[in-house]
């Protein structure tokens, strides 16, 4: 039982990341009809917003400490972050410690801007081009973006820990009547799950209850008619691209304390997020979210010992196996609309 609950938690946690990325991807598919292979790169850029902010906050000046020596035997240069110097060690270190949550505020404008530039500068010219061209150009863009990050930050993962107050794990088991130390779960992973629910809810609410969202939804269903009504649907779609980029970016920022980010993390998620979107059904936002959590949970259960002993290697292929089964039994994924990307 405890193992079961733990794997559900793991699955929800993995699913949060999948759902957030797939949500952004579907927004772009659904509104603009563009196959965006650079979406993983947006997730990665979000994560590096956190890295960037951490680096900025820990910008340091050097003082020479004569009492100690460095690896070459020279007097050691000690780095002191400016913020520590300005605000004193307590507040200064606390600011650096909280750099990941602070990066959320920093990442939103950055990501919206990145999305905006991407759409206006590049994607816009590809609406009428074949999907194959869209794939090629966005894949090229993804490579360029990740190589730029690699040029500045290297290929090695960069530790970006959660604030100390939020590190560590909580013993959920004791609350719901299990022995101590049977069901423990890290605070940050629970935060990630909650955060993803808020974002998902926010996006759905925005589309459902605002006039802007209503127009966008109308545009998704029938772009031409909305255009004929004299509404500048293009501008709204541009903003939607910015929002999709921001969702991917925030998923990236929040992911950094879970796994240290590296420049190719976007590519690692890219294929998976496409599978999630398609399993959910093309053009369906609830489908993407549902498929994200479903695949996350299935993946978690497939990696348990009893699953792998029953079917060796099941943990390696579960996602793809599920994708095949779903697509063969439900032609348009879980909640797909007819005619979207079927040509």
């Amino acid at each position: 039982m405890d193992a079961f609950i733990l794997q559900i938690l793991n699955g929800l946690d993995k699913g949060s990341a999948y759902a957030l990325i797939a949500l952004g991807l579907t927004l772009i598919f659904g509104t603009l009809g563009v196959v965006n292979f650079a979406h993983g790169a947006l997730f990665m850029i979000g994560a590096f917003c956190a890295v960037f902010l951490q680096r900025i906050l820990s910008l340091s000046f050097l003082t020479v400490d004569e009492t100690r020596t460095d690896f070459l035997g020279n007097p050691m240069k000690v780095e002191t972050p400016y913020v520590v110097d300005w605000f004193g060690p307590e507040l200064g270190n606390a600011i650096i410690d909280w750099s990941v949550p602070l990066a959320i505020l920093f990442a939103i404008p950055v990501m919206v801007f990145v999305g905006f530039v991407m759409e206006r500068g590049l994607i816009k010219h590809f609406y009428k081009r074949p999907h194959a061209d869209q794939i090629l150009v966005t894949f090229g863009l993804a490579i360029v973006l990740q190589e730029i990050i690699k040029y500045f930050y290297g290929a090695n993962p960069i530790p970006t820990p959660a604030p100390r107050a939020l590190a560590g794990a909580f013993d959920i088991g004791t609350v719901i009547g299990f022995d101590a130390n049977t069901i423990i779960y890290p605070y940050w992973r629970m935060i990630y799950f909650a955060f993803s629910l808020i974002i998902i809810g926010g996006v759905f609410g925005f589309l459902r209850y605002t006039t802007f969202g209503m127009v966008v939804r109308a545009g998704m269903a029938d772009r031409e008619t909305v255009g004929m009504l004299g509404i500048d649907i293009d501008r709204r779609f541009t903003l939607m691209f910015g929002i999709a980029a921001a969702v991917a970016g925030l998923a990236g920022v929040m992911y950094t304390p879970i796994n240290p980010p590296n420049y190719h993390m976007g590519m690692d998620f890219l294929v998976l997020s496409f599978v999630v979107v398609v399993v959910g059904g093309m053009g369906s936002l609830p489908g993407a979210v549902l498929a994200g959590f479903l695949l996350g949970i299935l993946e978690s259960f497939a990696s348990t010992s009893w699953a792998t002993s029953a079917l060796p290697g099941i943990n390696q292929i579960i996602i793809y196996l599920v994708a095949i089964i779903v697509l063969l039994t439900r032609p348009r994924g879980l909640m797909g609309r007819k005619g979207v990307m079927e040509e």
Partner: protein, 404 residues
């Protein structure tokens, strides 16, 4: 000639000349010169050009004609390679049975995957093929390489060991893949002035197979079958309403292109007897998609150009290090030299991915039809000039196929 129109015959002859003279054409710079870095006329890379050319030609039969975008074609390349290496391990290093079996195995594998995947179209088809290929990769990388049942030898790659049976191997035959005794690695090197040209047996085997493959692809493009495939691409629904069942045609195209991929995989193993699981990874499938689109999907020659383009960058640009850069710019004053090296540095060596990404974007933005369109534009430019003087060539009707 050979049942081809005069235009296609001309194209085939041009490709044949390019392929046969590649060892000379690809080594335009004298060996000692600083530009020798850009020479591509060494056996391994020429083999790769041709083999990936075959792979892309086959992919184009499916994607270029029917519009079905498979994201899992690397799986067929991979099983082809594994089949070939197993033939080396069990029978002998002769490449003929290995290549034949690789085509057959890849064909059977593609019947299975194609039959299931073709039940869906559009992106659902793409994801199905991707899922099968990724499963194949995961299985080959670890599950099928456990000590009890080692089919693929996992991460290291399947290779031939001295204690393998090799029942037809005799003393006197090369200890490497060979064509009835002619080692795939035997190379004539001709030194001519400052130049050095390698004429490699394995390369010529690949080149001849490429010509056969290319000829067959021209025939398929022009056959009633090819026209049927194009009809599927332009409007499958209408075709179905006329009472035609299109699936046998798409399945046939899928299997043919799977066999091309298996052939390429078998040749890769024949040139270098090792089959690595990474050959099946989605990045490898993506690579052939990129090659085809980059060169010009739906055109005859495009996929070969795209394959050459990507392989050239992978193998030539990745080897340019700062040392080489300093040699190039050594004629300049010191400050300017360092400045130029600093400018070029991010784009070569470990930055070759960056250059490739930028070029993908530039090509697709400015040449929607791929490299073939670039060639056509140049051709048209020249043609227009000629036209003023009267006469000139007709633009290539074949290459006018839309890019999707």
């Amino acid at each position: 000639m050979l049942g081809l129109s005069s235009k296609d015959t001309a194209l085939l002859i041009i490709v044949a000349l390019l392929a046969l003279l590649a060892p000379v054409l690809l080594n335009p710079f004298p060996e000692a010169s600083a530009m020798a870095q850009f020479n591509a006329g060494y056996p391994d890379l020429m083999q790769r050009f041709v083999i990936y050319g075959i792979f892309a030609i086959g992919f184009n039969i499916l994607f270029g004609l029917t519009g079905y975008l498979s994201f899992g074609h690397a799986a067929f390349l991979g099983v082809g390679s594994y089949a070939a290496v197993w033939m080396f391990k069990l029978l002998s290093y002769n490449v003929v049975p290995a290549i034949l079996l690789s085509v057959v195995v890849a064909g059977l594998f593609s019947v299975l995957i194609g039959y299931i995947s073709l039940r869906r179209s559009g992106i659902y088809f793409s994801i199905l093929t991707l899922a099968f290929a990724q499963m194949s990769f995961a299985l080959a990388y670890s599950v099928l390489s456990n000590p009890k049942f080692n089919l693929t030898n996992g991460e290291t790659g399947l290779q031939v060991y001295t204690d393998d049976p090799q029942i037809f191997h005799r003393a006197g035959l090369p200890d490497l893949p060979h064509f009835f005794g002619l080692s795939m690695r035997s190379t004539y090197t001709v030194d001519m002035g400052g130049w050095s040209f390698d004429f490699n047996a394995g390369y010529y085997l690949c080149a001849i197979i490429l010509l056969v493959a290319f000829y067959m692809s021209i025939r398929i493009f022009n056959s009633p079958f090819g026209i049927m495939l194009r009809a599927i691409k332009s409007n499958q629904q209408r075709l179905n309403y006329t009472g035609l069942n299109s699936r046998p045609y798409t399945l046939a195209a899928f299997v043919i292109s799977g066999m091309y991929a298996g052939l390429a995989g078998g040749l890769l193993a024949a040139m270098d007897p090792l089959a690595g699981a990474e050959r099946m990874q989605w990045t490898a499938s993506g690579e052939v998609v990129l090659m085809t689109i980059l060169g010009g999907a739906g055109t005859l020659i495009g996929p070969i150009l795209g394959a050459g383009f990507i392989k050239y960058f992978e193998n030539i640009f990745s080897k340019i290090n700062d040392n080489v850069l300093h040699q190039w710019f050594s004629f300049m004053p010191d400050g300017a030299e360092d400045f130029l090296v600093a400018i070029v540095h991010p784009f070569v060596g470990k930055g070759w991915h960056l250059t490739l990404g930028i070029l993908f974007m530039l090509v697709v933005i400015f040449l929607p039809g791929g490299l073939v369109e670039g060639g056509q534009r140049i051709g048209r430019f020249v043609f227009r000039r000629n036209n003023r003087k009267g006469g000139g060539l007709e633009p290539d009707a074949k290459a006018k196929q839309p890019a999707e």
